[in-house]
Symmetry: C2
Subunit: 227 residues, 2 copies
Amino acid sequence: MHQPHPALRQPVTAADRVLLEIQRAIVEGDIAPGSKISEPELARRFDLSRAPLREALARLERCHLIERIPNAGARVVRLSTNGLLALYQLRENLEGLACKLAAEHMTDAEITEVRQLLDQHLSSQRVREGESYYQEAGDLDFHYRVILGSKNSYLINILCDELYYLVRMYRVQLGMNGPRVSRAFDEHKAIINAIANRDGELADLLMRRHIAASRRNIEQQLEQMGT
Amino acid sequence: MHQPHPALRQPVTAADRVLLEIQRAIVEGDIAPGSKISEPELARRFDLSRAPLREALARLERCHLIERIPNAGARVVRLSTNGLLALYQLRENLEGLACKLAAEHMTDAEITEVRQLLDQHLSSQRVREGESYYQEAGDLDFHYRVILGSKNSYLINILCDELYYLVRMYRVQLGMNGPRVSRAFDEHKAIINAIANRDGELADLLMRRHIAASRRNIEQQLEQMGT
DNA sequence: ACGAGATAGATTGTCGACAATGTACGCCTA
DNA sequence: TAGGCGTACATTGTCGACAATCTATCTCGT
C-alpha cells in the first residue's frame, strides 16, 4: 500500500495524536465553527498537559482550522462564502500547477497506479451508489496522488498539509451530493489521460475546471443553507 | 505609514521576539545552513526557557527555514538549485495569481500609493547606485503591496509568512547584483500599470516574467558559487 | 440611568524539572 | 581488525506550577 501523503506519518508523539483527534473533530463539526478553544478544557478532555496541546494548536493554526490571537486564545474557523471563494481560487491555481508538473515528473508506474485507483473507485462506486463518504475519500486520494506527482515539496506541503483540511471541512460539513459524483470520475479520468500524454497544459486546464465545478457545487449548498 | 504586512505585527510575546532574531540570523547566514539547532544552547543564548523557544521553532518550520524530525531535533535548511527551482516555480504562479486578483481588488488609492513607492525607490536608487540592500528591501516592499492587494488571505499568508523568508534567504546569501536592479524598476512599473488598467491577464504575465528573470539571476549566482 | 474605572476571575505565556527517546562511544566477540 | 551490542550521555517530549495578560462584572460618579 502507499501512504496518503508524506506528512501524515504515523503519530509518534502525544502532540501528534491529539492533533489528529482535534483535526477530525473540527473537520467533522464535532467542535462547532466559531467556538472558543479552551486549553485547560481540552487538556482535561484528552488527558494530557498543555505543552503538547499547544504544539497541536500551533499546527491547527497552520492548516487554518483555528485562529489564534496572542493572550486572547483561539477560535475554530468559521465557514463562509468569501472564505470558500478565496480557498478555491488558490486551489484551482495550485492544483492546476500540480497537474502541469505532474505531467512532467510522474513516472509511468505512478500513472498506472493512479489509473488502477480510478478503476477501483469506479467499481466501488457502482456497488454503493450515493454513499458520498467513500467518494469523498476517493476523490481526495486522487488529488493527493496528482499533487505528490508534482514532486515539488513546497507545493505538496501547502496543498496537503495546509489547505486540504479546510477543503475537507467544507465538503464534509456541507455534504457532497449525488449528481456531481459520477461526473467527477470522468473528469479524473480525463486529467490522468492528459498527464499520461505528457500534456501539462491540458491537464492544468482540466483540473482548474474540475475544481471550479466542485466549488460551484459547494457554493450552492452554502447558499441553500444560508436561506 | 503602513505596516509591511499583517502577520508582522509588533512582537508582544517572548516567542515573537526570539522568532524574529532567529529568523534574521538564519536568513542572513549567521546560523550556517545545514547546522543543527540545539534547544538548550539557543535557550541560554537568548536567555529564556525552552517553551517559547519551541514555539518559535514551530514557526520557523512553518516558513521552511528549519526542518524538524520528531525526537531527533531540527536543522537549518540548506540552499540548493533544486530547492530554488521548486520555490520559484511556486512563486511565479502564486504572485501571478496575486497580480490577477490585485487588478480586480486593489483600490485606486492603493495603486497610487504603490506608484509613489516606486518613484521613491527610483530616486533613492539614483542616489546610492549599487547598494543592493535597499533595493532588496524596496523590491520586497513592492511585491508585498501587490500581494496584499489580492485581498486573498490564504494567498497572503502563504506568500508573506511562509515563502518570503526563504526567498530573502536565497537573495541575501547569494547576493543580488547590479545590472538586474535597474531593469526591475521598469518591470515593477509595467506591472502596476497593468494593474491600474485592470488588465489582470497582462499583470499576471508580466509578474511571472519578472520573477523568472529574478530566478535566472539567482541561479547564475548559485552555479558560479558551486564551481 | 449610563459610562468609565477598578477589581476578581479565568486564560494564556513562561518557567524549571522529570521522563522518554535518540546518539555516540567503548567494549566484546568473531 | 571489523562489526555488533550495551551502556552512558545528551537531546527532545511532557508535566505541573507560577507570572502576565485579558475578560467580565461590579462599583462609583456624573
